[in-house]
């Protein structure tokens, strides 16, 4: 079964992985790295932890998240601000770092 269809077995549609993925642990670490580029403007970081992730703020607050499905509500709660991918400041920062 293609890994994309893994989303049927997990909680969120984005959980599946493409067939070129490495081990589940390596894939989670890679996903965390992808997420960290987007989380940086909000002062948050994500780390793979067991089969899940830990989201942390600069002030030491932390939350456990399952995947991208519950990442953004948790990020908004932890960071105390909305995480808007259309925000001009966020976009400018990402474009500069690209």
């Amino acid at each position: 079964m293609c890994g994309l269809c893994g989303s049927f077995a997990h909680g969120h549609w984005s959980d599946g992985v493409a067939s070129n993925a490495q081990t589940p642990t390596a894939e989670r670490a890679r996903r965390a790295a992808v997420a960290n580029a987007a989380l940086a403007p909000f002062g948050l970081t994500l780390k793979s932890w067991g089969g899940r992730y830990v989201l942390s703020s600069r002030t030491g607050k932390a939350a456990v998240v399952e995947g991208f499905g519950d990442l953004w509500p948790a990020a908004e709660k932890l960071g105390g601000r909305s995480c808007d991918p259309l925000d001009a400041t966020v976009l400018a920062r990402l474009e500069l770092g690209a």
């Binding site: 293609c2 994309l4 269809c5 989303s7 049927f8 909680g11 969120h12 549609w13 984005s14 599946g16 992985v17 493409a18 067939s19 070129n20 993925a21 890679r30 996903r31 992808v34 997420a35 987007a38 991208f68 499905g69 519950d70 990442l71 953004w72 509500p73 908004e76 909305s82 995480c83 808007d84 991918p85 259309l86 976009l91 990402l94 474009e95 690209a98």
Partner: protein
């Protein structure tokens, strides 16, 4: 996966003709095995063996995720039906749900797509929206929920066309095509039987159903449809991260999302579709629509600047040194 039963949804505003359409569809032998759930028993009787009534409570699950707004009553009704089927008490091969005319249909999709107990046994079939040729334009003007119903549809039936002037029917059809370019449109009068394939063909049709015509640039004051395109295959993690973020922030204004995506490491096209914050499980297609192996996603949204969405798509999903995500008008 093939064992999952399709769930078809008939939506549309009050008085649009949902029950009439459902009654006519259920008369077709292809749909003899459908179990039917309706919100209220109307004046038009549905003479069907497996007719069940559902009531109206909508539940926000304690997990707090907005996409987990499920209809508790619908979940209970579906579980009861599936239980009776498993025990051999009843037999059916699909489920048809008629929503109440005042309902945003999204919680119905969330119930199927997000509920852990149901999503392994059911899959979304067709979403059919009925729009009344006489009152449809005024309803779209006055009631936000009717816009959401039409935007969520795979197929739109303009009903009562024999009662409205031809020019009014044409204008309404053009408006609906602009609002939802990914939906098939059928103008129906009281005599012509609706094609049964309108329900049974969902998910089994040609791949072209994933490829909308060029969306209209400015469909008046309705929501607008626009296209996101990418030449090179996308990284699935980047795409999933971005779309999750976009829908978390703007899900109320993104009425519909539908298209095909090229993913690195995946041989064929992957179909993606969602309604507001609910995204269905990705679906592998046999072949690229029109043989064109590019990412093409149609977004139907309100109040959001399409150019800003394209820029965000490039910034989050595209990568430095590549042209993975290219904007297109």
């Amino acid at each position: 996966m093939s064992a999952r039963l399709p769930v078809d949804v008939i939506t549309g505003f009050l008085g649009a003709g949902k029950t009439t359409l459902l009654r006519r569809l259920l008369a077709r032998p292809e749909l003899a095995g459908a179990a039917v759930l309706v919100n209220e028993f109307g004046e038009i009787g549905l003479d069907h063996l497996l007719l069940e009534r559902i009531d109206g409570d909508v539940v926000l699950l304690k997990s707090g995720c907005v996409c987990c707004t499920v209809r508790g009553d619908l979940k209970a009704a579906l579980e009861a039906l599936l239980g009776r089927r498993a025990r051999g008490e009843i037999a059916f091969d699909r489920v048809a749900i008629e929503t109440t005319g005042l309902a945003d249909p999204t919680p119905v999709f969330a119930t199927i797509a997000a509920d852990a107990a149901l999503k392994h046994r059911l899959r979304m079939g067709a979403v059919v929206c009925v729009v009344d040729a006489l009152n449809g334009a005024a309803t779209l003007d006055a009631h936000d929920v009717s816009l959401r119903q039409a935007a969520a549809a795979d197929r739109i039936v303009v009903s009562k066309t024999d009662l409205a002037p031809p020019e009014a029917c044409s204008a309404l059809a053009a408006r609906l095509r602009a609002l939802n370019p990914v939906a098939e449109l059928l103008l129906l009068d009281a005599e012509t039987p609706p094609p049964a394939l309108w329900l049974t063909g969902a998910g089994e049709g040609p791949p072209s159903r994933w490829r909308a015509d060029t969306p209209a640039a400015e469909p008046g004051h309705d929501a607008r449809a626009f296209l996101l395109e990418a030449e090179a295959p996308l990284d699935w993690a980047r795409f999933g991260l971005w779309l999750s973020m976009l829908l978390n922030a703007h899900g109320d204004d993104i009425l519909r999302l539908k298209g095909v995506v090229a993913i690195e490491g995946v041989a064929g096209p992957v179909a993606i579709q969602g309604v507001q914050r609910v995204v269905h499980a990705p679906e592998h297609l046999e072949a690229w629509p029109d043989g064109d192996a590019r990412t093409r996603l149609v977004v139907i949204a309100r109040t959001i600047d399409p150019e800003r969405v394209r820029r965000s798509f490039r910034a989050f999903v595209g990568r430095a040194g590549t042209n993975a995500a290219a904007a297109s008008a």
